[in-house]
C-alpha cells in the first residue's frame, strides 16, 4: 500500500428491516457490444440478451420471473413512451413490468427493493442502447441543457462539462495529464481480454499523450466512444437463489443520488462528484460496511472520461482525497494490486451503451465474482456508475460472493 487509505465513518445507519431477506444475482446475459449492430432492431438485441440471461439463470421468463424492470430514456430510443416497448422482448407481456428512466444500476436497485419487500421472488432487469441509430446525438444532448441559460450559448458539445471537471480535479489534487493517460492506456489494454471490449487496444501512455485533444485535458483515447448493447440480469431472493444456483452473487447494498438538476451546471461542485459519494455511502450502509478500506476485493467504476476513474475512487472512499493518482503510480489499482480497478477494460475499451452502462459494470463484476472469487482476499466488488454529462446522477452497487 503506497498511499494513505481513507477511513469513512458513517453516521446513523439506515434502518434496513433485519428480517428482510438477501438478494442475489443468479444469471446474466448480453448481446451486441459493437460500435454498430445494424442487423438487429433494439427489440431483437434485447431478446438475444434476455435469452442468454434466462438460460444462464435456468429460469423460464413466462413461468418463473415475477416482474421485469427496464432502464431507458425516450430520447435515446427515439420513441415517445418507450416504456411500452419494454415488456415484449424480455418476456414481460401481461406481467408486471415498468421502466426506470435512469442508469441500469438504478434498475438493479429497484429490483433489489422489490425482492427485499417480499412481494417478488425473481426479477429481471434489462437495459439497452443503440447509439448508432441516432443521427443527431449533439441535438439530443442539447435538449438536456437548460433552455434559458445554457442552450442559447450554442457551445456545441455538452461533453465540455467533463473537461471543466477534469481541470478542476487536476488543479485540486495535483494529478497530471500523465496520470490520466495511465488510466486510459491501462484500460485499453485490459480490455483486450474482454469479448465485450470493441475499443480495446495495445495503447501506451505515449500514444495517449501524443494524440489530438478531444476535450482538454483529454485526448481521443480518454473519452469513451459509444457502443450498441443490451444487458439482462436476473435477481432472486435467497431462497430462490439457493434453488437455482450453487454460486449466487449477493447484492449487498445499493445507492443512488442526484446532485443538482441536469443543465444547472452552475450549481455543480466542480472537480468532485457528490452524487457518487452519496450513492456510495448509501450502498455501504445497506451492505453494513463502515469503511470500505480493506473490505473490497476489486472495483468497476466510472471511467467514461479518464480522470473520472481517479475521481470515482476518491468519492467512493476507495482512495483518500487527492490520493488516487499516487496509488495509481504504485500499481495499487492494477490486476493483483491492492484494489484492482476496471479489469474489464472499463468503458474506455467497451464503450458507452447509454443507460446500460451501469448494468454492464454489474455484469462484469458478477462474472468475475462468480468465476474468480477465490482470487480475492475479500470476494466483494464495488460497482459505480455516473450517468455522464450533463447529468449529476450516480448509482452504486456492492456485490459479494460470500
Amino acid at each position: 500500500m503506497g498511499a494513505t487509505h481513507p477511513n469513512i465513518v458513517v453516521g446513523t445507519p439506515i434502518t434496513w428491516v433485519p428480517l428482510m431477506r438477501r438478494v442475489a444475482i443468479v444469471g446474466a446475459g448480453w448481446a451486441g457490444f459493437r460500435p454498430q449492430v445494424p442487423e438487429l432492431s433494439f427489440r431483437e438485441l434485447v431478446f438475444e440478451a434476455a435469452q442468454r440471461a434466462y438460460e444462464d439463470a435456468g429460469v423460464d421468463p413466462r413461468e418463473d420471473v415475477d416482474a421485469f424492470v427496464s432502464c431507458q430514456e425516450d430520447y435515446w430510443e427515439g420513441i415517445a413512451i418507450a416504456d411500452e416497448f419494454a415488456p415484449e422482448p424480455v418476456g414481460g407481456a401481461l406481467r408486471p413490468t415498468y421502466t426506470v428512466a435512469g442508469d441500469g444500476l438504478q434498475g438493479l436497485a429497484q429490483a433489489y427493493m422489490m425482492i427485499k419487500s417480499g412481494a417478488f421472488d425473481i426479477v429481471a432487469v434489462e437495459s439497452h442502447a443503440k447509439p448508432s441509430d441516432i443521427v443527431t446525438l449533439d441535438g439530443i444532448y442539447d435538449l438536456a441543457l437548460d433552455p434559458h441559460t445554457i442552450r442559447p450559448l450554442r457551445v456545441a458539445n455538452p461533453l465540455f462539462t467533463a473537461g471543466l471537471d477534469a481541470v478542476a480535479y487536476m488543479s485540486r489534487t495535483g494529478a497530471s495529464r500523465v496520470h490520466l493517460a495511465m488510466v486510459a492506456a491501462a484500460n485499453k489494454r485490459m480490455g483486450l481480454h474482454n469479448p465485450r471490449a470493441s475499443y480495446a487496444g495495445r495503447v501506451t501512455v505515449d500514444d495517449v499523450l501524443g494524440a489530438p485533444y478531444y476535450i482538454y485535458p483529454m485526448t481521443r483515447y480518454e473519452v469513451a466512444p459509444y457502443t450498441d448493447a443490451a444487458v439482462v440480469i436476473v435477481l432472486a431472493s435467497e431462497e430462490a437463489a439457493r434453488r437455482l444456483t450453487d454460486n449466487p452473487v449477493w447484492v449487498e447494498g445499493v445507492g443512488w443520488s442526484t446532485e443538482v438538476g441536469t443543465g444547472a451546471v452552475e450549481y455543480h461542485k466542480w472537480g468532485h462528484m457528490p452524487s457518487l459519494k452519496a450513492a456510495g455511502l448509501m450502498a455501504y450502509r445497506a451492505a453494513g460496511i463502515d469503511s470500505p478500506t480493506g473490505e473490497v476485493g476489486f472495483a468497476e467504476v466510472e471511467d467514461r472520461f479518464s480522470f473520472m476513474e481517479l475521481l470515482s475512487l476518491e468519492e467512493l472512499g476507495l482512495a483518500g482525497e487527492g490520493e488516487a493518482h499516487k496509488m495509481l503510480e504504485t500499481g495499487d489499482f492494477s490486476p493483483g494490486g491492492y484494489l484492482p480497478v476496471n479489469q474489464s477494460g472499463g468503458s474506455l475499451s467497451v464503450g458507452v451503451p447509454f443507460e446500460a452502462l451501469g448494468l454492464w459494470r454489474a455484469l462484469e463484476a458478477y462474472l468475475e465474482l462468480r468465476e474468480h472469487a477465490d482470487k480475492y482476499d475479500v470476494p466483494r466488488a464495488v460497482v459505480a456508475s455516473w450517468r455522464g454529462p450533463p447529468t449529476y446522477t450516480s448509482a452504486v452497487a456492492v456485490l459479494g460472493a460470500q
Binding site: 438487429l40 432492431s41 431478446f47 435469452q51 441509430d133 443521427v135 441535438g139 434559458h148
Partner: protein, 186 residues
C-alpha cells in the same frame, strides 16, 4: 378555458388577469421556442426488414412460433408469449376481416377535420393458424370503401377485405405500399 377569440366561453367564471393575443404571448421575455434536433435511423432488424421487403413485392409475410403456433404479423423474431425464436416464415394471402373500425372526426388537438378518417384493425387470414385468444395475425390500416354508416351500424365488423396495393413501380418497402384495405366485392 378560452375560445379562439380569446374570450372565456359562456359558463366559465373569469379568472384573474387578461388574455394575451398570439403576438403578445410570443413577445414575452422568458418564453423560448425550441424545435428539437432529433433525427434517427431506426434499424428495422431481421423481422421487419423482411416484412417491408415483402410489401415491395406485394406480399404480406409473417413469422410462426414453433411452440404455440401463433403467427405474427407484423412479424417478430420471437414469440412474446413463449419467449422463443420464431424461425419459420409464412406468406399470408392478404385477405381478412375487419375486427374493429373507427371513424375519427377530429385531429390530435381536437380540431374538426373536413373529412372523417376511417381506420381499422384487420384480422388476416392465416391458413393453418386458428387464433386461440384475442390476439391474431393482423394489420392496423386505413379502410377505403367503408362508410361511416357501415361502422356506426356495425356492418363493418366482420366485413371481408383485401389490401389495395400501390402499383409495383411506386412501392418502396413501406407500410404505405398498401394504400388501404377495401371490401371484397360480392
Amino acid at each position: 378555458m378560452s375560445s379562439r377569440s380569446g374570450r372565456p366561453q359562456p359558463g366559465w367564471v373569469n379568472p384573474p388577469g387578461h388574455y394575451l393575443k398570439r403576438d403578445e404571448m410570443y413577445s414575452l421575455v422568458g418564453l423560448v421556442e425550441y424545435p428539437p434536433r432529433a433525427k434517427y435511423l431506426f434499424s428495422a432488424g431481421q423481422a421487419q426488414s423482411r416484412f417491408l421487403m415483402g410489401l415491395k413485392e406485394g406480399k404480406i409475410l409473417g413469422t410462426r412460433c414453433p411452440r404455440c403456433g401463433r403467427v405474427y404479423v407484423p412479424p417478430r423474431m420471437y414469440c412474446e408469449y413463449c419467449h422463443t425464436h420464431t424461425l419459420e416464415w409464412v406468406e399470408l394471402p392478404g385477405t381478412g376481416v375487419i375486427h374493429t373500425a373507427v371513424i375519427s372526426y377530429i385531429g390530435t388537438f381536437r380540431e374538426r377535420r373536413k373529412e372523417p378518417v376511417i381506420v381499422g384493425v384487420i384480422q388476416l387470414d392465416a391458413p393453418g393458424y386458428t387464433p386461440g385468444g384475442y390476439e391474431f395475425a393482423g394489420l392496423f390500416h386505413r379502410l377505403c370503401g367503408v362508410t361511416p354508416e357501415d361502422v356506426m351500424s356495425g356492418r363493418a365488423i366482420g366485413m371481408r377485405v383485401k389490401p389495395r396495393w400501390r402499383p409495383p413501380e411506386e412501392r418502396r418497402g413501406d407500410i404505405n405500399d398498401i394504400e388501404c384495405f377495401e371490401p371484397i366485392e360480392g
